[in-house]
C-alpha cells in the first residue's frame, strides 16, 4: 500500500506484561498488580524440610511480586529432592537458599530473588538474650527488615525466641508477618497484620452493593419518577410494561406514604403488604399475561426498601480515633474516612455509589436514570472532596490526596473493612489464648481448633528440646544436613502429650470458664499421634496446598484488596477441610 493511511496506525498494545498477567488483572486490576510489583517478600526458611515456604514463594513469583529473599542456612540433602520441586540432583550438598532461589527465579524473569545462606539467628543478629527475646535492641541492625514488605516465617526448632523477636519487630514497624507450619497431613498458618489494617477495595458481591436510595430519593430522581409514572394508568401496554421498576417503586411508595402518615413500609408485614400492592398493579390482560418490570419491582421490595444504616465495618472505621483525631501525617485513608464521617453526619447517608442494576426499560429511560444516579454520585464525591481539601489546608499537608483514591473510597464506603491486627497466636510460656477458644472445642465436636493446639504443643516440645538434642544446624528441628542421623529422632508421643496438657492448662488459666485438660486431650491426641508418625516430614501435597492458601492471603495483604484471613487457619488433610479462627 502506498497511499497515506487515513489515520496513523495505533501502537500494538497492551504490553507483553499486561498480556502475561491478563487473567489475574481481572481479579485485582492494575493497582493490585502494581502493589505486588512493589513488594519485597522475606522468607525465613530455617525449618526443615521447608517446602511450604518455597511453595508459597512459587505462588507469589508467578503473579509477579517485585522481589524476594530466602534466608536458609541448610544444605540440600537427598531426602529434600524427593519433596522439593525446586531442587535437582545437582543441588545435593549445596546451599538450599541458593538452589531453591535459582530454580524459583526461572519461573518469572520479572522477579528478583536473593538467597541468604545463614541461619536465622545469624541473619537476625546473634545477640538475642534469652530472657528478653522481644527486645528489638538486641538486633545488631535494628532496621534489618525494613526493606521488606512482608515476612514469612516457617516454623523451625529455634522458633520461640526468634519468632518472638520477629513478631515484635514486625508489630513495631507495621510489617505483616505470616507464621507457617506443615507437618504430615496437617498444616497451620497465622497472620500478624498491622493495627490498623484498613481495606477499601474489599470486592463485595456485586449483588450486595446496590444502594438505590428508594426511601430517600433526591429531587431529580423524584421528579423523573413523577414524570414517568404520573399517567401510569393511561400508558399504552408497551410503555406500561417498560417503566423501570425503580420508578414504579418510587411511585407506589408515594401512594403508600399518603395513606400511612408519610411513613414507608417498614416492618416485614408492611413490606409484604406493599409487595402485594405492587403486584396488583401489573397488567395481566396483555398477551404475556403479566409484566416483567412489575415482577422486578415486587422482587426488590424486601431487599431494596431499607433505611440507610451505617455498616458495622465502616462504623468501626469512622469511630476509630485515627479517623477523628487527624494529624498532619495521618494516612490518606483516615483523611478520607474523616471527610466521609462529616458527610454522613450532615446527610444521614453515605455518598451514593451510583451504580444501577440491569432492568427492564426502554434504552433512553435507562440511560437517563443512569445519568441521574451518576450525577448524584459525582456531587456527593465532590462534597466529600471539598471537605477533605479544607482539612488538608487546615493541617497544612503538602501532597493532596488523589481524586481517584477519594472516589474509590466513596463508592465502596459501605464495604470498607478495618482489621485490628494483633500479635501472632503462638506458644509462649506466659502467653495464653483466650479460654473461649478452648470452650469452642468443647461446644463444637467438629471444631478443627485441636489442630492448632496440637501445633502449639509441638512448638512447645521443640522449644523445650532445642538445647538437649544437639544438632549440626540449631535452626533445624530434624537436621537435613546431618549425615549421621540416618533414622531421625521421632518426638515421643508422651512428651508431646505432656506439652499439650501444659499449653491447655496455660490457655485455660484465664478468668473464663474452668476447662479441664482431660476433656480436650482426647481430641488432640490423635493429631499428635499423626505428628509422631510424620516425624517432622512434610508431605509435598499438603505443603503445596498450604503454599497456595498462604500465597492467596499474602496477595490480599499486599494488594490491600479482598479481606484476608484474620488471623489463624488450620487445614486437615484427612477430611480435606480448613477452618479459620481469630485467636
Amino acid at each position: 500500500m502506498t497511499a497515506r493511511p487515513l489515520t496513523p496506525p495505533p501502537l500494538q498494545g497492551p504490553t507483553a506484561k499486561e498480556k502475561k498477567y491478563d487473567r489475574q488483572l481481572r481479579l485485582w486490576a492494575a493497582s493490585g498488580q502494581q502493589a505486588l510489583e512493589d513488594a519485597h517478600v522475606l522468607l525465613l526458611n530455617g525449618g526443615s524440610p521447608g517446602v511450604v515456604g518455597v511453595e508459597t514463594l512459587k505462588n507469589l513469583i508467578l503473579p509477579g511480586i517485585g522481589s524476594y529473599t530466602i534466608v536458609d542456612g541448610n544444605v540440600v540433602a537427598e531426602k529434600d529432592l524427593g519433596i522439593n520441586f525446586f531442587l535437582t540432583d545437582h543441588s545435593l550438598g549445596k546451599s538450599r537458599a541458593d538452589e531453591t532461589c535459582k530454580y524459583l527465579t526461572e519461573l518469572n524473569p520479572d522477579v528478583q530473588g536473593y538467597p541468604v545462606q545463614k541461619s536465622l539467628r545469624d541473619f537476625l543478629g546473634s545477640a538475642i538474650p534469652s530472657d528478653a527475646p522481644d527486645r528489638l535492641s538486641s538486633l545488631t541492625n535494628p532496621n534489618a527488615l525494613d526493606k521488606y514488605s512482608l515476612v514469612l516465617f516457617v516454623a523451625s526448632k529455634q522458633n520461640y525466641p526468634l519468632l518472638r523477636l520477629v513478631s515484635s519487630y514486625c508489630a513495631a514497624k507495621a510489617l505483616p508477618l505470616f507464621y507457617l507450619h506443615s507437618l504430615g497431613l496437617f498444616s497451620h498458618f497465622s497472620t500478624q497484620l498491622p493495627d490498623p489494617f484498613p481495606i477499601v477495595d474489599t470486592h463485595p458481591d456485586p449483588t450486595s452493593t446496590q444502594d438505590l436510595r428508594l426511601l430517600d430519593p433526591w429531587p431529580e430522581l423524584q421528579a423523573f419518577a413523577k414524570s414517568k409514572t404520573e399517567n401510569l394508568n393511561t400508558l399504552s401496554n408497551h410503555d406500561h410494561g417498560h417503566v423501570p421498576y425503580l420508578l414504579l417503586l418510587l411511585r407506589f411508595l408515594t401512594d403508600w406514604r399518603e395513606s400511612h402518615d408519610g411513613n414507608p413500609p417498614s416492618e416485614y408485614r408492611e413490606k409484604k403488604e406493599f409487595k402485594s400492592l405492587v403486584e396488583s398493579k401489573a397488567r395481566t390482560d396483555n398477551p404475556e399475561g403479566g409484566e416483567e418490570n412489575f415482577d422486578e419491582a415486587a422482587a426488590a421490595v424486601l431487599k431494596s426498601l431499607n433505611k440507610p444504616s451505617l455498616p458495622s465495618g465502616l462504623r468501626q472505621v469512622l469511630e476509630d480515633p485515627s479517623s477523628k483525631q487527624l494529624q498532619q501525617d495521618s494516612a490518606n485513608f483516615w483523611l478520607i474516612a474523616n471527610a466521609i464521617q462529616k458527610f454522613h453526619q450532615k446527610h444521614g447517608s453515605l455518598p451514593l455509589p451510583g451504580a444501577l442494576p440491569d432492568m427492564k426499560a426502554q434504552s433512553q429511560d435507562y440511560i437517563q436514570l443512569q445519568n441521574i444516579y451518576k450525577a448524584k454520585s459525582r456531587r456527593d464525591i465532590e462534597e466529600v472532596t471539598n471537605s477533605l481539601r479544607s482539612t488538608e489546608a487546615d493541617l497544612k499537608r503538602q501532597t493532596p490526596v488523589e481524586a481517584k483514591e477519594i472516589e474509590s473510597f466513596c463508592k465502596g464506603a459501605a464495604f470498607v473493612k478495618l482489621i485490628k491486627g494483633q500479635p501472632l497466636p503462638v506458644y509462649a510460656p506466659n502467653a495464653k489464648a483466650p479460654p473461649t477458644s478452648l470452650q469452642n472445642i468443647l461446644d463444637d465436636e467438629d471444631s478443627l481448633l485441636p489442630i492448632f493446639l496440637a501445633f502449639q504443643a509441638y512448638d512447645h516440645w521443640l522449644h523445650e528440646n532445642s538445647n538437649t538434642t544437639p544438632q549440626t544446624d540449631p535452626s533445624a528441628p530434624f537436621s537435613s544436613s546431618s549425615s549421621s542421623s540416618s533414622e531421625e529422632a521421632k518426638p515421643p508421643l508422651e512428651a508431646l502429650k505432656q506439652s499439650a496438657t501444659q499449653t491447655i492448662d496455660l490457655n485455660a488459666a484465664g478468668d473464663g470458664p474452668q476447662i479441664n485438660a482431660d476433656d480436650i486431650m482426647p481430641r488432640i491426641e490423635p493429631i499428635l499421634a499423626e505428628f509422631v508418625r510424620a516425624a517432622g516430614a512434610e508431605l509435598h501435597n499438603i505443603s503445596a496446598l498450604t503454599g497456595g492458601m498462604v500465597a492467596q492471603e499474602v496477595i490480599k495483604v499486599l494488594t490491600k484488596q479482598y479481606i484476608p484471613i484474620d488471623n489463624t487457619c488450620v487445614f486437615d488433610g484427612i477430611a480435606s477441610k480448613s477452618a479459620v479462627f481469630r485467636l
Binding site: R23, H540, N541, I574
Partner: protein
C-alpha cells in the same frame, strides 16, 4: 551425579513422603495414572504427583502454550510459547524427578487411539480441562472403562474437586451444566439494547463475514424466533450477502470506508426506515464516514489501542476500527498469497490476538454509539467477547492438591471416604468438603447400562443386532431405537438400515451405540454399547455381547432416596448451612496408615461413612471452567 536408581538412594529420597503416606505409599509407587489437561491445574497436579511418588503419569493435552498462561502454568517459560503443553510439561517436570515415568501425548483426548481399553489401563484418571465437551467425554470413557475419575475446575478464587466412581457417586453429567447464553438473531442484528448485543454482533457477525466463513451457524445465535420475523430475517440475509461482496475489495485503500458505510451508514438507514421497529424504541443514528473521520481532526494519537482500560470516544473508536481493519486485511492477504492453489483462508477471533480484538472492540463500540448504548473499554470487551475466566496460581495450587488428597483415598480403596471439595475466597472456611452423592437414577450418562458389543466387521449387519441380540436375547419389544452420535439408525419406522453392515453405517471400533427402549409400560434404562471389531468364527453369530446383561427398568420418580440428595446442581446446599453429625470428630476417619490407627485404639471407628460436613455455598453457580 551418579544415576540415582540404586535402592538406598531412592529410599532416602522417598523418606519424607513414605513417612507421611504410610501403607498407601506402596500402591502409589506402582500406580499408573492419566492426567487429561496440562494447563493451570495440570501443571500443579503433575508436580504433586511426581513428588508424592506416583510411578507413571500419562499426560494428554492438545493445546499449545500462550503468553497469558505464564502467570500460573509454572512448567512453562517464555521460550516455550507455541509449543505443546503436554510435551513441555513432561520435559520440565521430568527434570525434577528422573525416577518417575512420564508419557506425553500432544493430542485430543477424543481421538480414537484413546479408546476404552486404553482408559481401562489406568488406576485413576484426573480431569484438568478447560471445556465441558472434553470433560463430558472423559466422564463417559471412565464410566465405560470403570476407572475412578477425579474431576476439577477453577474460576478466579473458586475451585471444585469431584470424585466420580461408577455406580457409587454422581457422574459429571448427573447435574446439568450451564449452557452459554444465546441471543435472538434480530436482537443482535437489528435491535440491540445492551453492550453485549453489539459485542456479539461485532464478533460473530461482522468479523466472521469480513474475515471468517459465514454467519450461519454461530452458536450465540438463537434461531427460535426466526419464523416470527421472517421478513426481517430475509433482509438480514441480503445485508450479509452485500457485505460479502465488499469483502472482494479487501486490501484497497477504501476498504475501511466501504465496510464502514455499509454497516454504520446504509444498514442503519435501512433499519431506520422500518417504522414499526422503532415505535417503542429509540431510532439508531446512522454515521457519516466523512464527518466521523474529520471529527478525528488529527487529535487522536496512535496509542489509542493501548489504552485498553479507558472507554474510547467515537473518533478513537474510528481510528482503531480503520487501523485494525487494515492490519487484519494485510494478514489475510499475506496468508492467501502464500498459497498457490487459492485455498480460501479465514481468520478467527481470538481474545488474545490484538488485531482481532481491536476490530471487535471498536466496531462494537461504534455500533453502541449508533444505538445509544454505552460503549465499553477494550479490557471489558475482551472479557465479554472472549469468555475469559480469571485464573491464578494460588487457586490452581490448592485445587490440584485437593485432587491428590482424593487420589490417596481412592488408592487406599476408601471410595466411600472420597469427597466433593469446594474452595472459596469468602466465608470463614477456605476449603469445604461434603460427602459424595449417589448417582442420579435418571442421569442420561451414568444412569444407563453399558456393555461391549463384539462385531465381526465382515459379516455383521444392523439386523443382527436388532433381531439376534436385542429382540431374541434381551427381550426388547418393538418400540425401541438405535442411535449413535450422528442420529437415529433404527426405529420401528426406520428399517432401511437393517440390511446394512456396521461399516456402511459408519459404526466402527470404539464408537458407541445407544439403545433407547420406548416401551410404554416398563421401559429399560438406556443401553450403551461400545463397539469392538473382531472376526468371529463362521458358526457363531456375527454380533456378540461381551457379557450377559440384566438390564434394569427405568425408575419412575423415586422419592424415598431422592429427597436428601437431589438438590439440583453441583452446588452445595445454600450458605451458611451446617450439619452436625453425632458421635465423633473428623479424626475418627483414620490417617492414611491404617496400622498405626489400629495401634492407637480404634475406639471411635463406628461412624466413619458419613464424615462431618461443613458447607458454605459458593457465591455463584457451578464452576465449570479452567484452562
Amino acid at each position: 551425579m551418579e544415576p540415582a536408581t540404586t535402592k538406598p538412594v531412592a529410599t532416602k529420597r522417598e523418606r519424607y513422603y513414605r513417612q507421611s503416606l504410610g501403607a498407601v505409599y506402596g500402591r502409589i509407587k506402582q500406580s499408573r495414572v492419566l492426567m487429561v489437561g496440562a494447563g493451570g491445574i495440570g501443571c500443579e497436579l503433575l508436580k504433586n504427583l511426581v513428588l508424592t511418588g506416583f510411578a507413571e503419569v500419562h499426560i494428554v493435552d492438545l493445546d499449545t502454550i500462550d503468553l497469558s498462561n505464564l502467570n500460573r502454568q509454572f512448567l512453562f517459560r517464555h521460550e516455550h510459547i507455541k509449543k505443546s503443553k503436554a510435551l513441555v510439561a513432561k520435559e520440565s517436570a521430568g527434570k525434577f524427578n528422573p525416577h518417575v515415568k512420564l508419557e506425553a501425548h500432544h493430542a485430543n483426548i477424543k481421538d480414537p487411539q484413546f479408546n476404552i481399553d486404553w482408559f481401562a489401563s489406568f488406576q485413576l484418571v484426573f480431569n484438568a480441562l478447560d471445556n465441558i465437551d472434553a470433560r463430558r467425554h472423559v466422564n463417559k470413557m471412565c464410566l465405560a472403562a470403570n476407572v475412578p475419575l477425579i474431576e476439577s475446575g477453577t474460576t478466579g478464587f473458586n475451585g471444585q474437586v469431584q470424585v466420580i466412581i461408577k455406580g457409587k457417586s454422581e457422574c459429571y453429567d448427573c447435574n446439568t451444566k450451564e449452557t452459554p447464553k444465546t441471543f435472538p438473531v434480530c436482537t443482535i442484528r437489528s435491535t440491540p439494547s445492551q453492550p453485549i448485543h453489539c459485542i456479539v454482533w461485532a464478533k460473530s457477525y461482522l468479523f466472521t463475514e469480513v474475515f471468517g466463513t459465514s454467519e450461519d451457524e454461530v452458536p450465540e445465535f438463537d434461531h427460535t424466533e426466526d419464523s416470527e420475523n421472517a421478513a426481517e430475517i430475509e433482509n438480514l440475509r441480503k445485508e450479509a450477502h452485500a457485505l460479502k461482496e465488499i469483502r472482494q475489495s479487501m486490501g484497497s485503500d477504501d476498504f475501511p470506508r466501504k465496510i464502514f458505510e455499509k454497516v454504520f451508514t446504509d444498514d442503519i438507514h435501512r433499519l431506520r426506515n422500518m417504522e414499526d421497529m422503532w415505535k417503542m424504541r429509540q431510532k439508531p443514528t446512522a454515521l457519516d464516514f466523512e464527518t466521523v473521520s474529520k471529527s478525528n481532526g488529527g487529535e487522536v494519537g496512535d496509542s489509542v489501542a493501548k489504552r485498553d482500560q479507558d472507554t474510547w470516544n467515537l473518533a478513537e473508536n474510528f481510528t482503531v476500527f480503520c487501523d485494525s481493519l487494515r492490519r487484519l486485511s494485510r494478514r489475510l492477504q499475506q496468508a492467501q498469497g502464500g498459497e498457490a492453489n487459492g485455498v480460501s483462508h479465514v481468520l478467527s477471533f481470538d481474545k488474545d490476538d490484538d488485531d482481532t480484538l481491536d476490530f471487535v472492540a471498536s466496531s462494537a463500540n461504534i455500533r453502541s454509539i449508533i444505538f445509544g448504548i454505552e460503549p465499553r473499554s477494550k479490557f471489558d470487551i475482551k472479557q465479554m467477547a472472549g469468555n475469559i475466566i480469571p485464573a491464578i496460581a494460588t487457586t490452581n495450587a490448592m485445587t490440584a492438591s485437593l485432587c491428590v488428597l482424593q487420589a490417596f483415598k481412592i488408592m487406599r480403596g476408601d471410595l466411600n471416604k472420597a469427597k466433593m471439595v469446594f474452595l472459596e475466597r469468602s466465608g470463614a472456611r477456605v476449603v469445604n468438603s461434603e460427602s459424595l452423592r449417589p448417582p442420579k437414577p435418571d442421569c442420561p450418562v451414568c444412569g444407563i447400562m453399558s456393555s461391549r458389543l463384539v462385531v465381526d466387521p465382515l459379516r455383521a449387519t444392523l439386523n443382527d443386532l436388532v433381531q439376534g441380540i436385542l429382540k431374541s436375547d434381551l427381550g426388547y419389544g418393538d418400540e425401541f431405537s438405535i442411535n449413535n452420535e450422528v442420529g437415529t439408525l433404527y426405529d420401528p419406522d426406520l428399517e432401511d438400515n437393517l440390511s446394512k453392515k456396521f461399516s456402511e453405517l459408519g459404526v466402527g471400533a470404539d464408537s458407541f451405540l445407544t439403545i433407547i427402549d420406548d416401551d410404554e409400560e416398563n421401559p429399560r434404562v438406556n443401553l450403551s454399547l461400545s463397539i469392538s471389531e473382531k472376526s468371529l468364527p463362521e458358526d457363531s453369530k456375527p454380533v456378540v455381547l461381551s457379557q450377559s446383561l440384566d438390564i434394569p427398568r427405568k425408575r419412575t420418580v423415586d422419592t424415598s432416596q431422592a429427597v436428601e440428595h437431589t438438590n439440583g446442581t453441583t452446588e452445595p446446599p445454600a450458605a451458611p448451612g451446617k450439619r452436625k453429625r453425632a458421635g465423633s470428630s473428623s479424626l475418627d476417619e483414620p490417617g492414611i496408615e491404617g496400622q498405626k490407627v489400629a495401634k492407637r485404639g480404634k475406639v471411635q471407628d463406628t461412624d466413619q461413612e458419613d464424615d462431618l460436613i461443613l458447607v458454605d455455598g459458593p457465591s455463584q453457580g457451578a464452576i465449570v471452567i479452567d484452562d
